[in-house]
């Protein structure tokens, strides 16, 4: 399948965007319609470490998790829920394991749906197992196992298919630790997009064959790595201005899933999803203030602004005072959604959206650029050269720099260090060629020599 590139925006203006509403709602699972006027909690979990010892233990663990979540949802009266199972490596390396887990979970969900009428769906996020100990192996022997994992899960109960794919990560990991903007652009914007094109056309084919939903990807492996290294305000590991440039570049990369047949909801940890939504009009999952069980971030409220599905990212299954961890975090998510849905039903969604957004708008340059009005501008920069994967990524990076500079002229305060990093990044971007072939050739030569684990054949070169 040839990627159907986006060259225009889904929305006439940024103000048209809101949480819970999309241009293209998705029907799935047991009575769910995502992005059709209400938001839905998505509970994500990790089994306890010892549960991975055998298939039987793992299935039992997921049965407990699923029952706990469904039970809490009906106990407190929430109308809808999505469960997301992010595969541990055993489940993707052995597709039968993943399939049996999906079947066990869906059986329980069907029982609750039949008995109580609760609307629900099951997302399975396959692990990107395409690697060996030393190298990424994106097109090698494991590709067929990778695709088999999607298919078997889809055949056995998963409604939504996702992955956090890793294309370009070997170059990005090298570049991000060296303030290397060209490397970030090459790793995420070019290599990442090429790999996304390949896998998402195949995942979409699996979804079509099995009657399931090709949901979407996230640039967790790269943009979230940058966000986590950047950390909090006092951390000294990476300028937050560089982290948001990586995020802006990640938007056209994650967009490629939808250009190859995915329809949403995009994966929760894709903070770039607000930009992707502005372009596609498709539903998106997000995570923020109710995913502090998994990690801190500096835009916990803001990122709710345009979500359709609201996630806790991940929590290890264990006991808390208020029940098991999945029950506690699931309940918090569902109450967040109840508030958003109340705003939607009373016609106050734009007020609540703006309050979410404003509370973090000036907390950090990352939140500033992802505020829906600015995210929309990044989207416009991407679709301007939507057919050229290099130029659109470069456009996103440059627009991101411009937005931060405009913000600094107003109420956005950044440190001298962040300002310096931004200035250097802008200069590096300005020095890049406009010609994609030249950029690709230059980068191939440079990173083949500097990054020992970079294998060009992974990208069909």
């Amino acid at each position: 399948m040839v990627a159907n590139r986006y060259t225009s925006m889904a929305y006439e203006s940024a103000d048209e965007m809101s949480f819970g509403k999309t241009k293209h709602p998705v029907k799935t699972g047991l009575g769910l319609e995502i992005g059709a006027g209400y938001t839905i909690p998505e509970v994500n979990y990790a089994p306890r470490p010892e549960a991975g010892a055998s298939k039987e233990k793992l299935i039992k663990e997921y049965e407990r998790i699923t029952t706990d979540i469904m039970q809490r949802m009906v106990q407190v009266g929430f109308p809808a829920v999505i469960l997301e199972t992010e595969h541990v490596q055993q489940m993707s390396n052995n597709p039968d394991w993943g399939a049996e887990v999906a079947h066990a979970q869906k059986t329980i969900m069907e029982e609750y749906h039949d008995e109580y009428g609760i609307k629900c769906a099951l997302r399975h996020t396959i692990g990107d197992i395409r690697e060996n100990r030393d190298f990424l192996q994106l097109r090698g022997d494991k590709y067929s196992v990778f695709m088999e994992a999607f298919e078997k899960c889809a055949e056995n109960g998963a409604d939504l298919l996702s992955v956090e794919s890793m294309g370009g990560k070997e170059v990005f990991d090298y570049a991000i630790l060296r303030n290397d903007i060209a490397g970030m652009l090459y790793g995420i914007g070019c290599l990442g997009t090429l790999d996304m094109d390949m896998i998402w056309s195949d995942i979409a084919a699996v979804a079509k064959k099995t009657g399931t939903i090709a949901a979407g990807d996230t640039d967790c492996a790269q943009a979230n790595t940058a966000m986590f290294i950047a950390g909090g305000l006092l951390d000294k590991n990476l300028a937050h201005t560089l982290a948001i440039i990586a995020r802006a570049i990640s938007a056209p990369r994650s967009l490629a899933a939808y250009e190859n047949g995915a329809v949403g909801p995009g994966k929760d940890c894709g903070y770039e999803n607000v930009i992707v939504k502005s372009i596609t009009g498709m539903p998106m999952a997000q995570e923020g203030k109710t995913s502090t069980c998994a990690h801190s971030d500096v835009m916990g409220n803001l990122i709710m602004q345009c979500c359709d599905v609201w996630s806790n990212e991940s929590v290890e299954y264990h006991g808390e005072f208020g029940g098991t961890s999945v029950q506690c975090w699931g309940e918090s998510l569902a109450y967040d959604c109840a508030l958003m849905n109340t705003a939607l039903e009373t016609g106050n969604e734009k007020v609540l959206r703006d309050m979410f957004m404003l509370s973090d708008r000036y907390r950090d340059p990352q939140g500033y650029v992802l505020a829906y009005d600015n995210a929309y501008k990044v989207g416009e920069a991407i679709v301007k050269d939507g057919d050229n994967i290099y130029l659109r990524a470069k456009n996103a990076a440059i627009e991101c720099c411009n937005i931060v500079e405009e913000g600094v002229a107003g109420k956005l305060a950044i440190s001298r260090f962040e300002a310096g990093a931004l200035k250097d990044a802008k200069a590096a971007l300005d020095a890049l060629p406009d010609d994609m072939d030249q950029f690709m050739d230059d980068c191939l030569t440079k990173y083949q020599s500097e990054v020992k684990v970079f294998l060009p054949e992974n990208y069909g070169f």
Binding site: Q89, D134, D173, R178, S415, E418
Partner: protein
């Protein structure tokens, strides 16, 4: 669209990093720390700036002026790197600066070795690995760079490293410390196996663990475990071991929760 006034904004959030920023620029701070020796100064400065070619050029000039190549590792390269690590610890510079300086320093060390018949002495050897089943290695790469930047010899076993390979590397290299990093809760369980096999063989070496889903409670469950919350803790733990700290003392110093 809703917006704050300047006054109302201050009541909602505080940009502590902006409020607390040091007055001095990194370059000014580094200038105060460089050694004054005219042969050493350019090498230390090139390390700070992460310029490999300038490091080698400075080393060649020092050797031409009669300095022993092998002594320049401690007397110039490590001195320059000490400037970098101090400014990183003080919050004046950020991690990418350290990584670029470490790259330059390693090139410099190779140059010194090529120009000498004697082997350099290091502060000690550390065995580093990513847990079996886990391929996320950016944390380990930061740890190894920071350890090397602080004068330790690193045996890097890479990612997805089998438990027995870690144990064999400890038997062979007699390290002062082992490090293990993991992103996933399911893979960090391998740390317990590494610990048990090391203990079984009487290899009671501190085992510093950290990363993504790893937490202090988990690491404290096994005998040799020392939890490192930040990658930057690794060289500090190693320094404490050299200074005589046992595992109990390391936990006292580095277990923050």
């Amino acid at each position: 669209m809703l917006d704050f006034t300047e006054e109302s904004l201050k009541k909602v959030l505080t940009r502590y990093n902006v409020a607390l920023e040091k007055e001095m620029t990194p370059e000014e701070a580094a200038e105060e720390l460089y050694p004054k020796d005219e042969l050493i100064y350019p090498i230390a400065k090139a390390i700070f700036e992460g310029e490999e070619d300038d490091v080698v050029e400075g080393l060649q000039a020092a050797i031409d002026a009669g300095k022993e190549a092998i002594t320049l590792i401690d007397d110039a390269l490590m001195v320059g790197m000490a400037v970098v690590t101090k400014l990183y610890d003080d919050g004046v510079i950020f991690l990418p600066n350290v990584m670029m300086s470490a790259d330059a320093m390693l090139d410099g060390i190779e140059f010194c070795k090529e120009n000498s018949d004697t082997a350099p002495e290091t502060k000690g050897t550390v065995v580093c690995h990513v847990a079996e089943g886990d391929v996320h290695d950016i944390g380990k790469n930061i740890v190894t760079a920071l350890l090397r930047a602080n004068g330790f010899d690193v045996v890097d076993l890479g990612r997805d490293c089998p438990v027995d390979e870690v144990v064999a590397a400890v038997e062979e290299n007699k390290p002062i410390m082992v490090t293990g990093t993991a992103l996933m809760t399911t893979t960090m369980y391998a740390f317990k196996e590494v610990n048990d096999k090391l203990v079984e063989k009487g290899l009671n070496v501190p085992f510093a663990c950290g990363g993504g889903a790893v937490n202090q409670d988990f690491v404290a469950q096994y005998e040799l475990g020392v939890y490192g919350e930040e990658a930057a803790d690794a060289p500090k733990i190693a320094d404490a071991i050299i200074a005589g700290s046992n595992i109990a003392a390391l936990r006292e110093a580095f277990h923050k929760h």
